[in-house]
């Protein structure tokens, strides 16, 4: 494993909650802290690392209602739909995806709210704003797995 992969491996889990976490991670790899930090900055510059941050379990942070909404939008309207949905603070993810036979939905949004009513209001607002009429609000019934990717 090269240094870059080792740094990714050190950051894909949890960084230690102590004053100088990168110094500790660097020491674990036998690297000086400066070299580790330079490696992290390089990963960021190249867009491989989006950011180092805290990831919150939204349900436990008061956002108890969330749904994946699958939208059927005409190809010519997909771009403007995506931009409108992305502008909403209640939407965390928005993607255009391929369709399949019997499944014509091409845009997907994750919508969050502090209550079901609030979440549904956001969905309704998006439908009105974009003119999208066909969509499915796919609320989650059970969580089987939610974790982060392990790369190396």
């Amino acid at each position: 494993m090269n240094t870059e992969q080792a740094i990714i491996r050190a950051l894909q889990g949890n960084i230690p909650l102590e004053p100088a976490p990168f110094k500790k991670l660097a020491a674990g790899l036998g690297l000086p802290e400066g070299k580790f930090l330079a490696g992290v900055k390089e990963l960021k510059r190249r867009g491989i690392l989006r950011s180092i941050r805290a990831i919150v379990r939204h349900r436990r942070a008061g956002y108890s209602a969330n749904a994946m909404v699958a939208w059927k939008v005409t190809e010519s309207r997909a771009l403007s739909f995506g931009k409108t949905a992305a502008a909403s603070p209640a939407v965390s993810h928005c993607y255009q995806r391929v369709t399949r036979p019997g499944w014509p939905y091409n845009l997907y949004t994750m919508v969050h709210g502090r209550s079901r009513a609030e979440m549904l209001k956001v969905v309704d607002g998006l439908a009105k704003k974009t003119g999208a009429k066909e969509y499915l609000v796919l609320e989650s019934l059970r969580e089987f797995k939610k974790t982060s990717m392990v790369y190396f």
Partner: protein
């Protein structure tokens, strides 16, 4: 109850932890909270499970991985077993039962090209009780921003 200081710290830490020698001191300086207090609050919310992870968030594609979202139709009596089987695979990071025709949804990532995804999907499709399994790879990404103001 979340105090004003807790909220400041959690919101700032969700935005970004700076890549500096003393990141928690720098994060705290921006919002007028001491390094020790920042660490105390983050540890407390991590312990409570509100914070799932504090670490790097990567662009999967740029690391040479391919990914997809998949939706399955599974016989209700086999749903939990199939979900358990699928979830054993490291590349499956999210797996949910949802309402509707496709009742089991998961995200899948594998190193290499889309053929690896297709192979894995084909493998999952063969699990007993799976009636349908569609893979919906991304055509265009509009937003990923999982920041939840506390």
């Amino acid at each position: 109850m979340v105090s004003r200081i807790d909220k400041l710290v959690l919101d700032a830490a969700q935005a970004e932890i700076p890549c500096l020698s003393r990141p928690f001191a720098a994060l705290g300086a921006g919002i007028g909270v001491s390094e020790a207090e920042v660490l105390r609050i983050l540890k407390a919310y991590k312990r409570k499970g509100v914070v799932r992870r504090i670490g790097g968030s990567f662009e999967t594609r740029k690391l040479g991985f391919s990914s997809t979202l998949a939706g399955m139709r599974v016989k209700p009596e086999r749903l939990a077993a199939v979900a358990g089987e699928i979830s054993k695979f490291t590349g499956v990071t999210h797996c949910y039962e949802r309402e509707g025709e496709l009742n089991l949804w998961f995200t899948l990532g594998v190193r290499g090209g889309m053929s690896g995804i297709d192979n894995k999907i084909a493998e999952f499709r063969r699990l007993p009780g799976v009636e349908k399994c569609h893979s919906f790879p991304v055509k265009k990404m509009f937003k990923i921003k999982t920041l939840f103001p506390i």
